[in-house]
Structures are given as structure tokens and as C-alpha cells.
């Protein structure tokens, strides 16, 4: 059984390994100075030490942004899934909103948030806010627009995955607990979340990893300083000084390590799942 499963996954795995593997190998070698745009390749850890202080600060910011966004996205995502599952007939609008949100690219979503919440955005105009008076959602100190964008987009993804991975008898179990007099809150806590846990954990893990590596949302809605890991890597990589580029690769390896840790944690949680 496992063998057949493995064989089925082989083409996909091969493709991922070739594309991602080649990219990661190149980044890894480059970050140690073994592949270069110019000059003699030579092993060195100097790029890591050069980028270390900035990368450390960037990691802290990236972890904060992604953790907060993941928690909000998972919470709203699972509640939306619960509402949809229990009473989707009454929530055609909600299900449309969620399904439409999933395929919208983050780039477009970020632009939409900017148009809505920016200093001279739609809402600021609606309230006739004079220059400087509108709350600093975009590029503000608390990264509110970034967190909102991530939470909104990823919550839709989480709802989608949770609904798709629910066991077939979930609706029955919910109905039974309802007839036995369980309140909506206890149905959510004691019945729905335990059933949805595998999908919820996997989807949240995926969201987290995606957010660590995405840069366009922070680029459009964040501030110039401090900067998350992906922005640090992007900025260094697009530096006109080619000598700085290996530092960008080192920063990317740091982001990769963060992502791998998050992936291992997700897998660990899925294995030792003891919910409710």
C-alpha cells in the first residue's frame, strides 16, 4: 500500500526535487562563496557573518508577523469552516467569498488592501481624513495592513483545506451532538476542531511557511525598516553591488532553515496529535 502510494507520488516528487533542489543547492553553494557571478569561487563563511545581525533582527520580525497572521488565519478559518459545514445553505455569500479569495494572488490582494486602507485610500477618502490624520495601517509601526492581508488570504485557504479534509461522518457527528444538546461553542470545540485538526494543522503549517518566504506583501504594505527575512534577501539580491549578492543567498538559507523547522514542527504535531 505504502509502496504504491510512493510510486504514485514519484513524478511529483521528482519534479519538486529537480526544480527546488537545484535552486536550493545553488543558493547553498553561493552562500558559502562556492558559486559566484564574478571573481574566484572560494569557501568562506564571511557572507553569513556579514548578514548575521540583520538576519537575526529580520528573523524575529518574520516570526512575529507570520505567527500572529497564522493564529488569526487559523482561528477565523476554522470558525468559517464550522459555520459553513453546519449551515452552508444560509451562507452562500460566505462560501462564495471564501472560494473567490483562494485563487486571488497575494500581490493583487495586497494592492486591494492598499487601495482600501492606504493614507489616501478609499476609506480615508470616505471619512475625509486630512493628510497625516488617517491611522497608519499601511507602512505603520504595527504592520497592520500586512497582518490583515495575510490573515484574510490564508484564512480562506485554511477554510478550504479544512472542509476538504473533514472525515465523511463529520456532519453526522455534529448533528448527533446537536440533538444531544451541545451548544454551538462546545460543538466547535469538542467535535469540529478535533475532526478538522489534521487539515487545520497541515494548512496552518503551509500558510506559515508560505508567509516566511513571501516578500511582495511586505514590500507593498510594510515599512522600509525594520524588514522581514524575505525582504532582506530580496533587497540584497537586487543590490547593484554584485559582491553583496552572496549575502542575499545566506539570508535565504536562514529563511529556508526557519521554513524547515516549521515544516518539521507541523509533521511532528500531525504525528503526535492529541486534541481535545
Amino acid at each position: 500500500m505504502i509502496d504504491r502510494k510512493l510510486r504514485g507520488a514519484a513524478p511529483a516528487a521528482l519534479l519538486v526535487l529537480t526544480v527546488a533542489g537545484a535552486g536550493i543547492a545553488w543558493t547553498f553553494l553561493g552562500s558559502f562563496g562556492l558559486v559566484k557571478d564574478f571573481g574566484k569561487p572560494e569557501f568562506t563563511t564571511s557572507y553569513y557573518s556579514a548578514v548575521f545581525p540583520a538576519a537575526l533582527r529580520a528573523t524575529v520580525l518574520s516570526l512575529s508577523l507570520t505567527s500572529i497572521s497564522t493564529v488569526i488565519a487559523a482561528t477565523t478559518g476554522v470558525i468559517a469552516a464550522f459555520v459553513l459545514q453546519e449551515r452552508f445553505r444560509a451562507n452562500r455569500f460566505l462560501s462564495a467569498a471564501i472560494t473567490m479569495t483562494v485563487p486571488v494572488p497575494h500581490l493583487i490582494a495586497a494592492l486591494a488592501i492598499d487601495l482600501l486602507l492606504g493614507d489616501a485610500g478609499w476609506l480615508a477618502r470616505l471619512f475625509n481624513a486630512p493628510p497625516g490624520a488617517w491611522p497608519q495601517f499601511v507602512a505603520g509601526r504595527w504592520w497592520l495592513a500586512v497582518i490583515l492581508e495575510y490573515s484574510w488570504k490564508e484564512s480562506a485557504f485554511i477554510t478550504f483545506v479544512v472542509l476538504a479534509t473533514l472525515p465523511y461522518n463529520a456532519l453526522h457527528l455534529q448533528a448527533i451532538s446537536k440533538t444531544l444538546g451541545a451548544s454551538p461553542l462546545s460543538r466547535l470545540k469538542k467535535v469540529f476542531i478535533p475532526l478538522a485538526a489534521p487539515g487545520l494543522i497541515a494548512a496552518s503549517g503551509l500558510s506559515f511557511i508560505y508567509m516566511v518566504s513571501s516578500y511582495e506583501v511586505s514590500w507593498l504594505l510594510g515599512r522600509t525598516y525594520p524588514e522581514p527575512l524575505s525582504m532582506l534577501a530580496f533587497r540584497l539580491f537586487s543590490s547593484t553591488d554584485l559582491a553583496v549578492r552572496p549575502q542575499a543567498l545566506a539570508a535565504s538559507i536562514v529563511a529556508l532553515i526557519v521554513s524547515l523547522l516549521a515544516a518539521s514542527m507541523t509533521i511532528l504535531m500531525l504525528r503526535n496529535r492529541r486534541f481535545a
Binding site: V35, D37, F38, L84, F88, R89, R92, S95, A96, T99, M100, V102, P103, V104, P105, L107, I108, D119, A120, P131, G132, Q136, A139, G140, R141, W219, R223, T224, Y225, R235, F237, S238, S239, T240, D241, L242, V244
Partner: protein
Amino acid sequence: MNLARTLRVSVPIATILALATTIIVGSQSVVASPLLLRQSVGSNSWAKVVTQARGETVSLWMWGGDQKGNKYVDKILAPAAAKFGVKLRRVPIADTKDAINRVLAERQAGTHHGAVDLIWVNGDNFRTGVQAGIWHCGWVNTLPNASALRPGDPLLAADFGTPINGCESPWHKAQFTFVYNAHNVKNPPTSLKALFAWVIAHPGRFTYPAPPDFTGSAFIRQSLNSVSGGYKMVPSQYSADAYNKIAPALWKKLASLTPYLWRKGETYPRTSVELDKLYSEGQVDFTMTYGPATLTKLVEDGTFPPSTRVLPLDEGTLGNASFLAIPNTSGSFAGAELVANLALSPKQQAAKANPKIWGQFTVLDMKRLSKIQRIPFASFVPSKVVPPFEVLSRNANPELAAAWVGKLDTGWRQNVLRAK
């Protein structure tokens, strides 16, 4: 099953929307060059280049943030190239670095028919290319239209201090320009020093794009000239000694301005486009550009307020030229050279210099043109917003060597941005 029905309807619609966006965004990276024989051109006569170019596709990678420039290339330059049987394809990019990165990646992959045939480039990006050896060189002097360039024109001999060595062909000249809203700024300052005083007197009404943005980076160099007591006090070639001597005063000055900037200098517009947006929204009273020619149109179409004016500085502003360069991963050298030559022709240069079309200042020497060739240059309707190039370029400051650019950008990050 209403959920299922909603899914059936909305998922395809949303998927189509997303796909369309992806295709539009992604199309810029599609390789369009047909497989053509790679031919060395250097020694061939021009007639041979013209023959070889027929049937080639040339992808011109250029910053896409200037609608007039995009239109000029699509509607005027491309049809002219089509007459020679060359298909000119414009690839819009957010930053010239994207084109350089693409060429570097292609070279690492060993590509000889790359997606990039021509790049609109200058300054530090050109130097990066020289550093990495990605340019096709020695072809500029073979262009017939190069004869109308003035030999020894300082803007065309070196690009931000990097010798050109026939690796890029001049396209236009530019002047760094401050722009203000005369409705809000009643007594406009006439020097950068006075502008700094204005900023302090009017908190929150001024900011500049964060380097390494091209325009923000130019603002830092312009400020360096001002703080150091004029461009003559700044050595054009970079040295650590010179940097340590003059940069601290610049950082001190800029750091002292931050509390008076837009958002108290806690964040900056990331690009000049973002600064223009703030200006057009009335969030700030100043913007700045290295391409003042576009201002006329921006005012005409209502993007910028009608009271938009150019701010001339007594001490003059930075001037530079920009170029067309061919990467050596291009499979269409002949076609790219033909387009570069065409772009240098008096007819194309005049069309491009017309403020109604693009308004980019010509690189040609008027004295080397015939009377008839000069007529279109004299016939432009003068702009209410932008004075002519002779006025703008008065006391023009030469650009610093490209080696300065990166050091100043990094220095600004460490001493001004992080100091907050």
C-alpha cells in the same frame, strides 16, 4: 448542494481571473527570440548588419513606470524597426536590476539566445554589468547615426565614471529635478540648503524615496553635493578616505531632518512612483525625478495638480545620460544594434524629445545636424511646467562614480534609516 454549486460557479471564475493576472504578469519573462544563428558583427559593414537583422526579434527591457516612454517605444520606435524587418518587443520591468539579474541567470545557465537583447541602462547597473562582464562591446562606433554625437561630450564619454568602451549607445540626457506644488509652497526655496530649512518649517510635507531606489539614491548624492559645499568639493572617484571625510556631515544633516519628514521619517516611500503617488494625493508638497519631461503630461492628465512647478536650484542639479546596452547572451546582436542606431537617428531623437510624445532630451549635437534635421527640435510647444533643457541643465552637476552610489545607499541605511 448549494455549496457545491457555488463552488462550481465561483472557482472557475476566480481561477480564470487569477490565470489572466498571472499570464499578464508572467508574459514579460517569456522568451520570444526565435532561434537565430549567432553571428559576430563587429567587423562587418553596416549594410551587412542591416541584412542580418531582418527577421530578428529584439526584446528591449526597460523600466515600465513611464507611460509616455512605453507609448513612444510601442507606437513610434517599434514601427520604425518593423520597416527594417526587425520585431521590437518591449518588456516592462519594475527595476533595471531585474534585467541584469535575468542576464546573469541566463549566463549561468549557458544561454546564447537569451530573452534580453537590449536594456535601457546607466550608472550603477551598467557598472554591475561591466563588473560581471555581461556586455556585448565595441559596436557603438560602428553605428552610422553615432556621427551626430559630439566627441568628448562628458556625459557620453563615461557613465557615472565608468568608461563606456563601446558597450552602450547613448539614448537620452536627463536632469535631476525637484518638483513642487506652487499652491502650497508660496515662497519656493532656491537652493537645497533652503529646501532643508523649508522642510523643518513645514513638518510632514516632504520626503524622498528610500535608496537604493534610483531617484532616492540621486537625492542622496544631490544632498552630498550641497552639504559638502558644492559638487566641486566631492571627488568624482570613490575612495574610502573621501567617504569618511565628507559622508558623516551628510548623515548628520539627513538624520536631523527625519523628524520633519512625512511620517516623521519612520518610513519612506519605497520607490519614486510611491513618492509621486503621495505628491499627487496631496500628502506631500514636493516630489523629484530624473525624468522631468514627463511632468507636462502628468499635469495635463490631472495626475499632478495644475500648480505643479519645477524648482530650479542656484547650485544646479545632477545631470546624466542613459543608454541602450546589449548583453552578450542576446541571440540578436544585429537586430539590437539596428534598433540602437535607429533610436539615435535625428528623426527618432526629435520625436522622443517632443514633450507631447515623451520629452526626453536628445543626446545629439545640434551643430552636427543639417538645417532640415534641426527643424522638428525647434518646433515643440513650450511646456508651462518644465523649462527647456538649457535652463534645467544650468550649472549641471556631474554624476559621481558608480562606486559611490552603493556606498552612499548602504551608508544611508546604516546612519539615517536605522538611526530612527
